[in-house]
């Protein structure tokens, strides 16, 4: 197990190095370069030269790259040009919100998607199957931000069932410990804050869950259909086992293996979706921050975010691999 972790972490290094080269080149290719990004379009040449010298941009490329790399290792992602705060700090305060939103979204997708996919496969060709398949196809085809807009328009603006923006009501007095609003409420005993945070999470989480939900339904359905035709399910039936045991131990335990992998791969699309959803609901997570950073051309934030996300993505997939090796004895490392 430990060896697998170490090997995967070592494999991470060339990926991240390659990524850093790409990002470095990308930064240098930005229109006007970092100097004009800092000074704005109307900077004089003298000022640009001064900034360039200050940033070390007059030095050879490999020296610049080395410094860039060193800063990354020191977790120094630069300073946001919008807020003037270190990029790392900006991420650290906003990341919990995005994680919270993503977890709720993926939980919705799993809790709804797996039973739905299973039932669709069991009743192949029935109305539930047709509904689940067409629903998931449509789910993939609806632009996430449009879905978010509709949900907000109907349930928040028209019906007023849910708040339309933010993480907590403005009047809510909540203590911040971990940055996870729901968790904080539970930890401090401020249950009303916890509930309020949950209330704010529901609509964006539903919007964000649309694509993972569609993917999980389709994966589960296809996988269950395949497993139902396997010989070992027939063996289980021939032993006269309870339907519950056949379903849980023999069908689902095998059918969910590919679904676990798919959930890991969904992280990327989840973060893309978070950028869109958070900005519709003015939900103060990383996604919303990125949206404003795109508008403000806040390059240090964007570069930092890409590195940050690459690490998160690779780490999540590492976790998924580990989980996989726990549930599938065939890939277990001895």
């Amino acid at each position: 197990m430990l060896r697998l972790v170490v090997r995967r972490l070592l494999q991470l290094i060339p990926t991240l190095l390659g990524l850093s080269v790409l990002l470095f080149l990308w930064l240098n290719r930005l229109p006007g370069g970092p100097a004009s990004a800092i000074l704005g379009e109307r900077a004089t040449e003298a000022e640009v030269a001064r900034i360039n010298r200050a940033l070390g941009l007059d030095q050879p490329v490999y020296v610049q790259y080395w410094r860039f790399l060193k800063r990354i290792f020191e977790l120094d992602l630069g300073t946001s040009t919008q807020t003037g705060q270190p990029v790392w700090d900006e991420f650290a305060t906003r990341f919990p919100a995005t994680v919270e939103l993503s977890i709720v979204a993926i939980l919705i997708a799993i809790v709804v998607g797996i039973p739905m996919g299973y039932l669709a496969a069991k009743r192949r060709g029935g109305w539930l199957d047709v509904g689940a398949v067409s629903g998931s196809l449509i789910g993939i085809c609806i632009p996430v931000f449009f879905l978010a807009l509709i949900l907000k328009g109907i349930f928040a603006v028209q019906l007023q069932m849910f708040p339309s923006y933010g993480r907590l009501d403005t009047g809510m007095d909540a203590t911040d410990i971990t940055g996870f609003a729901v968790l904080d409420g539970l930890l401090t005993g401020e249950l009303d804050a916890s509930l309020d945070a949950m209330h704010h999470l529901i609509l964006p989480a539903i919007a964000l869950s649309s694509i993972p939900l569609a993917v999980i339904v389709r994966m589960t359905r296809a996988s269950v259909l395949e497993v139902l035709g396997e010989d070992y399910v027939r063996t289980a039936e021939s032993k006269g086992l309870d339907k519950r045991v056949v379903r849980g131990r023999h069908v689902l335990r095998n059918a969910l293996l590919p679904v676990v992998t798919a959930v890991g791969l969904l992280t990327g699309s989840l973060l893309s979706g978070a950028v869109l959803t958070e900005s519709v609901f003015s939900f103060n997570g990383i996604g919303n921050f990125i949206r404003t950073s795109i508008d403000a051309r806040d390059y240090p934030v964007l570069v930092g975010f890409i590195l940050f996300i690459a690490m998160v993505y690779v780490l999540i997939n590492l976790l998924v691999d580990l989980a996989y090796s726990l549930i599938d004895p065939r890939v277990r490392v001895h």
């Binding site: 290719r29 949206r291 795109i294």
Partner: protein, 317 residues
């Protein structure tokens, strides 16, 4: 001997009733299954209508898509809009332009965004994939190295959320529809490359390739004449599916402010992105382009999924 002849005739007659299984080729078999699939038919009809609209849309449009004829009737800043009425079936947008005409004209640009993005991804991705797949199949130390380097590179690209990759590309290139198309297309490159390479590796390890090798056919020739043509079907499926994702992703990029904020020629994704600001007052302004995008994407997805099923050897009966 007439008895024997009768006997044989009778037998032949009885045997005719039994099913004759003919060895249809993979593609003909797939076509037959596609024609029998409701998903494929619905998808193909949607796509046909969409392409037709893209061709004749500009001639059908009753008004100029860019003329702000009714500007004085719309006060976007006060949230006052004019809904559907006599000559403006879909109402007006925030600049007083006829939404119906813009939707009709916009189909062409939307199709172009999808096709160009897909082609960028397909062509570059297929080239990279063939290079990698051929290198891996031909083997040797050099081949393996080439393959490893290319695959590491695609790994890096795949490890980034596609939207953010597109955002970073768009950031370098500035705001325009071209940027959006390139950004969306580049995101697809690693997907096509991986798919083609994987498919070539599977084919490369199959028995007919071994047989060709045993016959003494040169390896390069096998790769080009045997492996490559047989590896293309998943790529074709992916191309169909990625037309759908390209149109949706392009809309998302426009929403994030990376497309041309207001091009002379309308495009559904841009229209949808613009309508967001006025969603609470005039939701239909967003709904029309959104419905267009959803139906079109659905058409490509349905056809792509049906093709995947038709080509799946596991499902062949």
């Amino acid at each position: 001997m007439t008895k024997k002849a009768d006997k044989i005739d009778r037998l032949a007659e009885l045997m005719q009733t039994s099913e004759v299984t003919s060895g249809a080729s993979l593609w003909r078999e797939a076509m037959r299954r596609l024609k029998a699939s409701k998903m494929a038919i619905i998808g193909a009809v949607i796509i046909a209508l969409f392409v037709l609209l893209a061709i004749i849309g500009p001639w059908l449009a009753p008004h100029s898509p860019s003329a702000q004829t009714w500007r004085g009737e719309v006060f976007a800043n006060k949230g006052q809009f004019v809904g559907a009425r006599g000559e403006n079936w879909f109402g007006l947008d925030h600049l007083g332009r006829d939404m119906f005409s813009r939707i009709l004209v916009g189909a062409r640009q939307t199709l172009m965004v999808g096709v160009v993005s897909m082609l960028i991804g397909l062509i570059v991705g297929a080239l990279v994939g063939v290079l990698s797949g051929a290198a891996a199949t031909l083997g040797g130390r050099t081949g393996e190295r080439v393959d490893t380097v290319i695959m590491r590179f695609t790994d890096i690209m795949l490890s980034l959320p596609s939207l953010l990759l597109a955002v970073s590309i768009a950031a370098v290139m500035g705001q325009s529809l071209t940027t959006v198309m390139i950004a969306v297309g580049v995101v697809q490159i690693p997907i096509f490359a991986r798919l083609l390479r994987g498919s070539m590796l599977v084919q490369g390890s199959s028995d007919y390739v071994l047989a060709a090798k045993a016959l003494g056919i040169r390896k390069k020739r096998i790769v080009l004449t045997q492996i490559l043509p047989n590896s293309l079907s998943p790529v074709i499926v992916q191309a169909t599916l990625s037309l759908a994702t390209a149109i949706i992703e392009a809309a998302a990029l426009s929403y994030l402010g990376l497309g041309n904020p207001d091009p002379a020629i309308p495009e559904w994704g841009v229209m949808l992105a613009q309508a967001e600001r006025f969603f609470d007052n005039e939701p239909m302004m967003a709904a029309y382009p959104a419905i267009g995008i959803i139906i079109t994407a659905l058409g490509f997805t349905l056809l792509g999924e049906a093709m995947r099923e038709a080509l799946d050897p596991k499902l062949r009966g």
